[in-house]
Every structure is written in structure tokens, then in C-alpha cells.
């Protein structure tokens, strides 16, 4: 491939797999695998995903300089693969998940503790070729902490608020956190196992429920992966309606987050007002697409229903309302010193770590990483719409609030353009059937960051294997770093400014 991509040139040393779209996938030798890991560790490309199959492991890679995606696959004939996490820490949790699910062994791995398997499943290695009996697991060994005057605070899995479950183990010296260690996997639902052999329709519903707050992003990523695999042309109007749903989802979630972050600094007024705006977005979404969160609104081939007749009016009113009500809230945030005192310089996340982890979304953009999947690799209709991707460098809670504020403004601008330019025509195309095994991959910008979906369809058109990768995989570990040296009382603030998904991560 002569597209100026060093990544594709490296993959060309392997054997390209036919029927994998839109980006190439290559089977690689253990030597080439090590070379690719070296590229990851050296920053030549970043990790997009890392997932398993009973007899192989796959690395999704992103080369920023050329804007290219590639997938490398290593067959594990003896049930082993050279550890990626050893050289490239962002892969560690994904690698531990592969071990738990497939029973493959990462040789030389730096961390052998199970991750998703808590010793509660009726079987071990649920996605392996042959199921093994449940393995007895010793109590989870948290990392040792040594030093004088340290105490530990265990939190969760059941938290105090209306949030998802997970365990946080804080080690503090007085008020200052010296280490946070996360223990996740509590909401592991076995989604990848349910996806095996599922019809495309059922799989779309499942992937749409990997993380409910990002149901549109997941629906879009799954649909685009299926469409890439089957080479289905989606009608133009469907592209635009999908973008409309995606921007409404971003708007609703960002509003909720801005309010919730301020509320965690005990500034409830912002929560009340942002909550009203969020509710109005959900109501307008229900008018337009019949569901407040727009679940199952995007289907492979297009969208499940056209924009309702009253939809445009509801959206125009929503935009007007936002333009009236949102600016005073920005002023309120900006001019409340007691609030700024809590958010400025709190939860600083080193930009070098953000780059290393390929951390996307608000967290990435608040720390200087401009990545936005709508631009690059990009997908329609964003190439025909005007919008800015805000980027800041302070990388603290305040910067993450401001990125959200700016993105709310950009989403309003996008919705305006979509309403003005929405093309007429059909909203759904039939998926083309070929009777062959086909593979597809898609990368989509959700409100939280980039969602990756990789899948293989069998000859009958059913899902043989599908792996949805939440942006949280590369964000959760950074929260551990961000909280260091902050006081315990600022953890809710830091955590909310990240707003990682437990369900999306645990699968």
C-alpha cells in the first residue's frame, strides 16, 4: 500500500486478509508482532484496541501522522502470545481481559491478576473453544503500598450516588491520595459471548446497550462496521439523521456532566439548570425519534425511523432555548470564584500520559490531544459540515468543563447545519448479502471519546465475532494518575470530570 503510512508499510510485511474493510488487516509473525509493539512503545502509533479470539489476538493501531488505521493479527497456536502490556502499559487491562475470556496466555506479562473474572462465573475462559470449569481465584491482591502514616479507604462496588458499581482502593497520607487502584469488572455481562452467532438485528440491540449513555455512538459504530463488511451504501439522508442523533446525544450528556461536575463541588444551582437543559434535549429527541435516548434508532443500513414531522420545529425551539439559557450558565461558571477554586488545577493529567494511552474524548482534548474521529479518519456527513474541535492544554477539571462547554456550542452549530441541509430521500438500505465470511471495523466519536467496533460476519450473514471497545479503557487508568496528590475530597470532582463508563469497560 502506498498511502504514505508507515503503519501500512509495516503491516505489508505480514499477509493481508481479504474481505476486511475499510482498513487493512494483516496476519503477522511473532517477530513482526514484536516490531509493532515496539512502534507502540516508541509512539509511532497508538493503541486503538486489543481483542482476542479462541486461537488469535488482534491489535487495532492508529497512526496519527498519516491518519491511518490497521489491524494486526497473531495466531496463538500454542495458546500463547508475546505480551503487549510488558512494553506498552495501555494494553495491560485489555490483555488481562483477553486472558480471562479466552484462556490464552500472555508470555512475559507484567500483571497476572485476573481482571474481569472475579471467580463468580459458572465457567472459566467463557469465550475459549472448549469451556473450562470455573477456576478458584484467591482474593484480589491489591498492589502493596509502603510508607509511614498511610491509611486505606476502600470504596464500592456499591457507591453512595446513583452511579455504576466499581471498587476504588485509596491509599492516603492524611488528606492527600498517594495511590488509587481501581478494581472493575462488576458489571461484566458477557456481551461478547451473547454476540457470537447473533443475527445482525439482535447484535445491533446488544451493542446499543454496551453503555446506555452512548447508545447512539455504539449503534453507529456497529452499523458502520456491518456496512463496511457488507459494502452497503447508506442513503445520504440516513447519514445526516445519524449525525443529528449523535449530536443530540453529545448535547444531552455534556449538559448533564457540566451540571454534575459543579454539583460535586457543592454548587447545586448549575446542576438544576443544566438538568433542565438536558431534559429538554431528551424530550426533543423523543419527539424526533420516539425514544428519549434514541436507543435502536440507528440500524445497519440506515436509521430505523425517519425524523418525525414535528421534529424540526421541536429542534429549532430547543436551539433557541439553548442560545438563550446556556450563555448565562457559562458566565455563572466562569464568575463563581468558589467553584473555580475547586476545579482549577484539580485532577491534572499529564499530557504525555494522554498521548501514550491514546486517550480520546474530552479528557484527551483538555490535555492537548486533538483527536476527533469525526474528522480523522472521518465519516459522513461531517466532511460537509463546519465545526471546530476545541483543544486545551491545562488538563485539569476546569479544562474538561470548558471542553464540554465548547462542544455544546459546536453541537448546536452542527444541529443547525443538519436541519438546514438535510437531504430528502430514503433512510435505509438493504444489506448486501454475498454468502462469504466478511469483516468490518468502524471508529466513531461518541460524547465520551472514540468507540471502536470490530466484527466478522459468517457466510449466513450472522455475527461470528464482534468486539466493541469503549473509550473508557484508555481513560480509567489515567484517573488513577490524575488523582495522585489531590485530596480525597476532590476525588468525586476528578471522577465526574472523567465520567468513564463502567458498563462499556466491563462489557
Amino acid at each position: 500500500m502506498s498511502d504514505g503510512s508507515r503503519l501500512h508499510a509495516a503491516l505489508a510485511a505480514g499477509e493481508f486478509v481479504g474481505g476486511h474493510r475499510p482498513w487493512p488487516r494483516a496476519r503477522v509473525t511473532p517477530e513482526l508482532w514484536r516490531e509493532l509493539i515496539q512502534g507502540l512503545a516508541g509512539g509511532a502509533w497508538s493503541l486503538l484496541g486489543f481483542w482476542g479470539e479462541p486461537d488469535a489476538v488482534h491489535l487495532g493501531l492508529w497512526e496519527e501522522s498519516s491518519g491511518t488505521v490497521g489491524v494486526a493479527s497473531l495466531s496463538c497456536q500454542d495458546g500463547q502470545f508475546p505480551s503487549v502490556g510488558r512494553r506498552h502499559p495501555p494494553a495491560q487491562r485489555l490483555e488481562r481481559a483477553i486472558v480471562d475470556l479466552f484462556g490464552l496466555q500472555a508470555t512475559d506479562a507484567p500483571d497476572h491478576r485476573p481482571w474481569l473474572d472475579h471467580g463468580r462465573w459458572p465457567l472459566a475462559y467463557p469465550l475459549a473453544e472448549t469451556n473450562a470449569r470455573a477456576r478458584p481465584l484467591p482474593p484480589y491482591a491489591f498492589l502493596p503500598v509502603e510508607g509511614e502514616s498511610l491509611h486505606q479507604i476502600p470504596v464500592g462496588p456499591v457507591h453512595a450516588g446513583i452511579i455504576e458499581p466499581g471498587h476504588f482502593r485509596f491509599t492516603a497520607n492524611g488528606e492527600a491520595v498517594v495511590r488509587l487502584e481501581q478494581r472493575l469488572g462488576y458489571v461484566h455481562k458477557g456481551i461478547e459471548s451473547l454476540l457470537r452467532g447473533a443475527s445482525v438485528e439482535r447484535a445491533a440491540r446488544l451493542v446499543g446497550r454496551v453503555s446506555g449513555d452512548s447508545t447512539v455512538a455504539y449503534g453507529l459504530a456497529f452499523a458502520r462496521a456491518v456496512e463496511a463488511a457488507t459494502e452497503t451504501e447508506v442513503p445520504e439522508r440516513a447519514h445526516w439523521l445519524r449525525a443529528l442523533m449523535a449530536e443530540l446525544e453529545r448535547l444531552a450528556n455534556h449538559c448533564g456532566d457540566i451540571g454534575a461536575i459543579c454539583n460535586d463541588a457543592a454548587f447545586a444551582l448549575m446542576l438544576a439548570h443544566c438538568g433542565v437543559l438536558r431534559e429538554k434535549v431528551l424530550r426533543a429527541s423523543a419527539v424526533c425519534f420516539g425514544h428519549r435516548l434514541m436507543m435502536d434508532g440507528i440500524v445497519p443500513g440506515g436509521v430505523s425511523g425517519d425524523l418525525a414531522v414535528e421534529g424540526e420545529k421541536a429542534l429549532r425551539e430547543l436551539l433557541a432555548e439553548f442560545r438563550r439559557r446556556f450563555p448565562p450558565l457559562i458566565d455563572l461558571y466562569d464568575n463563581t470564584a468558589s467553584l473555580q477554586d475547586r476545579t482549577v488545577a484539580t485532577g491534572f493529567t499529564r499530557p504525555a500520559l494522554i498521548k501514550q494511552f491514546g486517550c480520546g474524548g474530552v479528557i484527551g482534548r483538555a490535555g492537548g490531544r486533538a483527536f476527533d474521529a469525526r474528522r480523522q479518519p472521518g465519516y459522513p456527513p461531517y466532511d460537509r459540515l463546519e465545526f471546530e474541535t476545541p483543544v486545551l492544554g491545562d488538563s485539569d477539571v476546569n479544562a474538561r468543563v470548558w471542553i464540554r462547554i465548547r462542544e455544546v456550542e459546536q453541537s448546536l452549530r452542527l444541529i443547525d447545519q443538519i436541519l438546514d441541509g438535510l437531504p430528502a430521500g430514503p433512510t435505509r438500505a438493504e444489506l448486501s448479502q454475498s454468502g462469504e465470511t466478511r469483516e468490518g471495523v468502524a471508529l466513531v466519536e461518541g460524547f465520551r471519546g472514540d468507540v471502536l467496533v470490530w466484527l466478522r460476519l459468517n457466510a449466513g450473514g450472522e455475527v461470528a465475532r464482534c468486539h466493541p471497545r469503549d473509550p473508557s479503557w484508555f481513560q480509567w487508568p489515567l484517573l488513577e494518575a490524575a488523582i495522585e496528590n489531590n485530596i480525597v475530597a476532590d476525588f468525586p470532582l476528578c471522577n465526574k470530570s472523567f465520567n468513564c463508563s463502567y458498563s462499556g469497560h466491563d462489557l
Binding site: 472475579h118 450516588g161 455504576e164 458499581p165 462488576y186 446488544l206 448533564g256 448565562p328 463563581t336
Partner: protein, 170 residues
């Protein structure tokens, strides 16, 4: 800030009128809620929300109950941080194997009398996740459930109708 507060004072409240309690919920509750327990608790109930494996969609709508439109607290409901302070457990999700013990222990930590409300299609029978090795499948497979509120996710009005039915039987 003063201007914003003043405007809010002069505005008509956004809060929607109380919906009628759901008939189906009343029927489900009729045989289950103990009269003496209801007298003791009166019309004020503390809710502890427990996510037992949901996709977080139900949590978003439960959150919305607190916004100015639904204003759950006007009915005497409020969310509490500990099961020890709770009268009602509001449970979501298909109950993952990894959360089973967490749910059981939360239930045990809740003092009697108590009610359990299973929220969402997952909470009823596992929903789209039913049949997975990692899900127990339905809240009632783990702890006794007094009321189911269906939906994927149920919208705030539906949640409100179910919870009001709980009060109505009191």
C-alpha cells in the same frame, strides 16, 4: 448569579403534574405490601439505588427524577447514600454474577420493613442479556421483589407512576 436566581423566582415552575399511579403496579403491589409496615413508614420513603449490572441507561432516567420537571422529593421520596438509611431498594440490571454478592449484602444491610423495586426490562428477567454466563437474570432470582417497572429504560414518568403506586398502597 443573583439575576439567575431572581428569574427562577419569577418563573412558573417547570414541574409536571403528578401522574396517576400505574394500575399494573397497584395490582402487583396489592398483595405484597404489608399494611402495618406502611403505617410505620407513612408517606416518606428513602430510596437506595443499586446498579446490579445495568448498561447505565436506567440510571440516567432515575437521575432525571430529581430534575425540576419530575421533582421526586415533592412526593416524600428521596435518595439516600446508604442502604442502612433506606426503605426502598431501586435495583437495575440483569444482576451480573460479579454483582450478586454486592446486591445480597446491600439487601441484608437494609433494615425492615423494606421494599424492592426492580427497574427496567433487565431487572425483570435479564432483558437482552438473559442467558449469558455472566448474568443471574432478573432481580427476583436473588432477592424478593415487590414491584417491577418495565421499559428499556423506563422514562421518568413511568418510574414516577410505579413509585407513586407504592405510596398509594400506603
Amino acid at each position: 448569579m443573583r439575576k439567575l436566581l431572581l428569574q427562577s423566582l419569577l418563573q412558573v415552575p417547570l414541574t409536571v403534574p403528578a401522574p396517576a399511579p400505574s394500575e399494573a403496579a397497584l395490582a402487583e403491589l396489592a398483595s405484597k405490601v404489608d399494611r402495618a409496615a406502611r403505617r410505620r413508614l407513612g408517606r416518606s420513603l428513602s430510596i437506595r439505588e443499586v446498579d446490579a449490572g445495568s448498561c447505565n441507561g436506567c440510571e440516567l432516567e432515575i437521575h432525571a427524577l430529581n430534575n425540576a420537571f419530575y421533582d421526586l422529593e415533592r412526593f416524600g421520596f428521596h435518595f439516600v447514600a446508604s442502604p442502612r438509611h433506606a426503605d426502598v431498594l431501586l435495583v437495575t440490571g440483569p444482576v451480573t454474577a460479579n454483582m450478586r454478592e454486592g446486591l445480597e449484602r446491600t439487601y441484608q444491610a437494609t433494615p425492615d420493613p423494606k421494599w424492592v423495586v426492580a427497574v427496567g426490562d433487565c431487572g425483570r428477567d435479564g432483558g437482552v442479556f438473559a442467558g449469558s454466563y455472566a448474568c443471574v437474570g432478573g432481580v427476583s432470582a436473588v432477592i424478593p421483589v415487590d414491584l417491577h417497572i418495565a421499559g428499556c429504560p423506563p422514562d421518568p414518568l413511568r418510574l414516577l407512576q410505579g413509585l407513586l403506586a407504592l405510596l398509594q398502597t400506603a
